[in-house]
Each structure stands twice: as C-alpha cells, then as structure tokens.
C-alpha cells in the first residue's frame, strides 16, 4: 500500500516537474498596442529576435492597434496567464492612458511588469530655420506673445502632452499645444517647419538632427547615452527649473496571476535579450543603447513616473 502511495507521489511529482520545466514549449506572442512601423513596434521587432534566441522558441508580434493604445493592453489583460501572451509598450504610454482616461486597467496593478528594455527621454526639437538654440529662448519669446507659438505633440495624454503641459505650467510659457495623430504626422510637420517646437520621444528624428536640419533645444531626461555626442549635454527640464522627468521606457508586462516560476524565467530571457549584442546593435542603429530594468526596477520606475504624471495632471491639465 505504502509503495503504491509513494510511487504515485513520485509520478505526480515527476510529471509536474516535467510540466513546469516545459515553459516555454510553444511560440510566445507579444502584443504591441500600436500600428506596425511605429516606434514601439520597431523596437519590439528589434527585440523579438534576441528574445526568441534567449527563450528558445518562436516569438510572434501581433499589432492590436486602437484606443490610443488601450485595446492591446485590454487584450493582454484578458489573456491566459500562462506566460505565452505578453504586452510590450512604453511605460509612460500605459501611465498616460490610465491616468487621464477611465480605463479598466492601471499601469501599476492590473498587469505584472516583467522587465524594461529600452529607455529614451522625450526631447524638444526645432527646425533650424526658426533659429532657436535653447528652450529658455523659446519660452521667453512665447511669454512675450502668449498663445502665438506652437508646440506639436504626437497625441493627447501621453508623455509628450505631459512635457508640454509641464513647460506651460511651471514656466507660464503660453504655448499652443497641437496634438497630431501620431509620430509620423508630427515628424512631417516638424521637417516641414510648420510648428515652432516639436516634442517627441528620442531618438526619433535623430537622423535629421545629425544632418543639421533640426536642433535639439531641450530634453525631459538626460541624453548622455544617445549615439550623437554633440547633443549629449542638452539641458534637461530639471536643469531649467521644471521638476519633471519625462521619457518612455519600453518594457514587457504579463497578465496578472502568471505563475511565479514562469515570471522568473521570463525575467531571465528578457535580461539575456536586452543585454545581447544583437539588440545592442539594433539600439545603436536606432539611436540609443538599450538599458535593462529588472521587474522590480521597472516597477519602481513606473511608480515614479506615475507620481510625476498625477502631479502635473493635477496642477495643469483640465479634465
């Protein structure tokens, strides 16, 4: 009797080990809540190759575009918490959505962050024909003519919007904020010199900065690591007296309730992929060397960014 009991226990134990040890045994799906070809999507695809190698299985990127990024997040929320469906998006994209709109999810709390892979501050550009060399100069001009200078952002309620409102709020700058329908439209408007300043995530438009067409006049976070030495010392908002850090860190989330050992494995894969040569090469080509955040570090970052956003929203943004 006891032998049978023991053998059954062994079998179950052994079986469970096999089952648990089998993650991952099929393709992992990463959901990107933005259109294909955009910044987050390009970074996700650059990352997928290295991640696939580290995890040993195929990685499929699925774009679920809509609701300013909310549809993809909701889909991951509803997905099975087995580690085969993950979300890849920007930290402040999620925070922006859940802070400023009634969403059925929070950046911190309704999904489990498993790691950050790519950090970029949001920077401020101006066309060379405008002749601006620093943000302070533009702010001074705008203060003298309130409501006349235009600041283009890539969409409402994201990091761009927060930066614009922080500048307008703390410095009383009086910019007219124009929300374009995405990075591509904003890019075009900036290159075509239709707006005074452009607030966009680095390293988008870095190429044009290198070519001398655009000037970087300020940044929401340190540019020390950007692959263009000339602008690495750009003054940050804090150095100008605006107490806000604005940027975006792309990272991965898993649905809540994913088993702890699966999360541990994911963290391992993400770390290996984010620090791999392949991803580094992609990052440097894109404009920034990648930076890896462990899930705890990523969570801390999210909490910090969330507090900045809630602060600025409360002070300067209506609705």
């Amino acid at each position: 009797m006891r032998n049978i009991f023991l053998s059954i226990t062994f079998i179950i134990f052994g079986f469970s080990q096999i089952v648990l040890a089998d993650y991952p045994d099929k393709a992992i799906r990463i959901i990107v809540p933005y259109k294909a070809g955009g910044g987050t999507d390009t970074i996700a695809r650059g990352f997928a190759g290295a991640f696939s190698k580290a995890a040993g299985v195929d990685v499929v990127i699925t774009n679920v575009n809509g609701g300013a990024g909310s549809k993809g997040v909701i889909q991951v929320q509803k997905a099975k918490a087995d580690g085969y469906t993950l979300l890849l998006t920007g930290s402040t994209d999620m925070i922006g959505l859940s802070t400023f709109r009634k969403m059925p999810f929070k950046a911190v709390g309704s999904l489990d962050p498993v790691g950050g892979i790519y950090t970029t501050p949001t920077y401020i550009l101006a066309h060379k024909d405008r002749g601006y060399t620093s943000l302070e100069e533009v702010i001074k001009k705008s203060k003298a003519n309130p409501g006349k200078l235009t600041a283009g952002i890539g969409g409402k309620f994201g990091a761009h919007d927060v930066l614009a409102n922080a500048v307008n709020g703390y410095k009383n700058a009086g910019f007219r904020i124009i929300a374009y329908d995405g990075g591509a439209s904003l890019k075009k408007a900036t290159i075509a010199n239709e707006i005074d300043i452009c607030i966009i995530h680095s390293p988008v438009l870095l190429n044009e900065v290198k070519a001398g067409l655009l000037n970087v006049i300020g940044t929401g976070g340190s540019l020390a690591k950007i692959t263009y030495p000339k602008i690495q010392g750009t003054k940050t908002l804090r150095e100008m007296g605006i107490p806000a850090d604005v940027g975006v860190t792309r990272g991965l989330w898993a649905p809540k309730g994913t088993p702890k050992d699966v999360i541990k494995k994911l963290e391992k894969f993400i770390k290996a992929a984010a620090t791999s040569e392949k991803f580094k090469k992609f990052g440097n080509n894109f404009g920034f060397g990648p930076k890896y955040y462990s899930s705890k570090a990523f969570l801390d970052l999210l909490n910090l960014e969330q507090s900045v956003y809630t602060d600025i929203k409360g002070k300067f943004m209506s609705k």
């Binding site: 393709a27 799906r29 699925t62 007219r176 904020i177 124009i178 209506s318 609705k319």
Partner: protein, 166 residues
C-alpha cells in the same frame, strides 16, 4: 397586385427608411458625447462636437426632405395599401429568399462567436457545410469534400501562415 399598388408598397418602405434615417440623425444629438466631456474642450475654433453635429444637422435636413417627399407621393397614390396583407404576401412569395438571408446572418454571427472557442478547422467546416445546405445544395459528397478542403486551406492560410491568435 397591380403596378400602382406595388409603387405604394415601395413608397411605404421609403417612408420607413426615412424614419430610420431621421432617428439616426436626431439620435446623434443625444449620443455624441457619451463621456460627458465639457463642450469648451477644443482648439482652433472647432470643438470635438462641431463636425459630427454639423453633419447630423445636414442629415436631419436631408432626411426630412426625403421623408416628406416620400410621404407626399404616398398620399397622392390612390391605391389601397394594407400593411398586414402586404407583409403576408411578401413572405409567402419570397419565403426561401428571406430564409436564406436571415439564415446567412445568423450563421455568420454564430461562426464569429465560435472563433476562439471551438477549434477553427471544425467551426469553419461546419459553417461551410451548413451554408451550402442553407443555399439549397444537396450534393452531400461535394459539399463535404469542399468543406474539408476549404477549411484546410483556411487553416493553412490564417493559422499557419498569418499566425492569427485563434
């Protein structure tokens, strides 16, 4: 039914359509702001409500013109029009057509609902076979072969090649 009666029946349907259009356009004025956003939100002289309400107003005007003209033509038409007998006749004459149309819609809804719940290959097979049957085919062998081959092709294309999350 003589020609004039047929025209009258058509005019009646036109009136119904006119009422539908007007309810859409008037309904816009009640549903354009589900999140109760304040109306001053907006920049550059146009708010979020300017464009939809402008179009809704235009549609209301056009809808009224359409409804009134149909109504006037209806009244001018001297034949008698009995709604109930008209419906009965239409159903009697077109029973199989109406059944096919309704059946197609219901089948589609069920198929859509089953995506993700039931194995894709099986649900597609059932859909195809049922649709063939609904459209009055009775050559069961051909129907079955096509259902299986068709589902196979769909599976290969959408699940294997396009990697859809079904």
């Amino acid at each position: 039914m003589n020609k004039s009666q047929k025209i009258k029946a058509e005019l009646f349907k036109d009136i119904i359509m006119g009422i539908i259009i007007l309810s859409i356009s008037v309904g816009c004025f009640f549903t354009y702001n589900p999140a109760d956003a304040p109306l001053e939100v907006g920049t550059g002289g146009m708010t979020f409500a300017t464009y939809p309400l402008a179009v809704a107003s235009l549609l209301t005007i056009l809808g009224l013109i359409y409804l009134l003209s149909s109504f006037l033509k209806y009244i001018k038409n001297s034949s008698k029009f009995d709604l109930l007998s008209n419906i009965k006749n239409a159903v009697k004459n077109n029973q199989s057509l109406y059944f096919k149309r309704l059946g197609s819609v219901i089948l589609l809804i069920i198929y859509a609902r089953m995506i993700g719940e039931i194995n894709f290959f099986i649900s597609s097979m059932i859909f195809l076979f049922t649709a063939f049957y609904l459209f009055e085919r009775r050559d069961y062998l051909k129907m079955s072969v096509l259902s299986v081959l068709g589902s196979g092709f769909l599976y290969a294309l959408f699940i294997y090649f396009l990697k859809l999350p079904i």
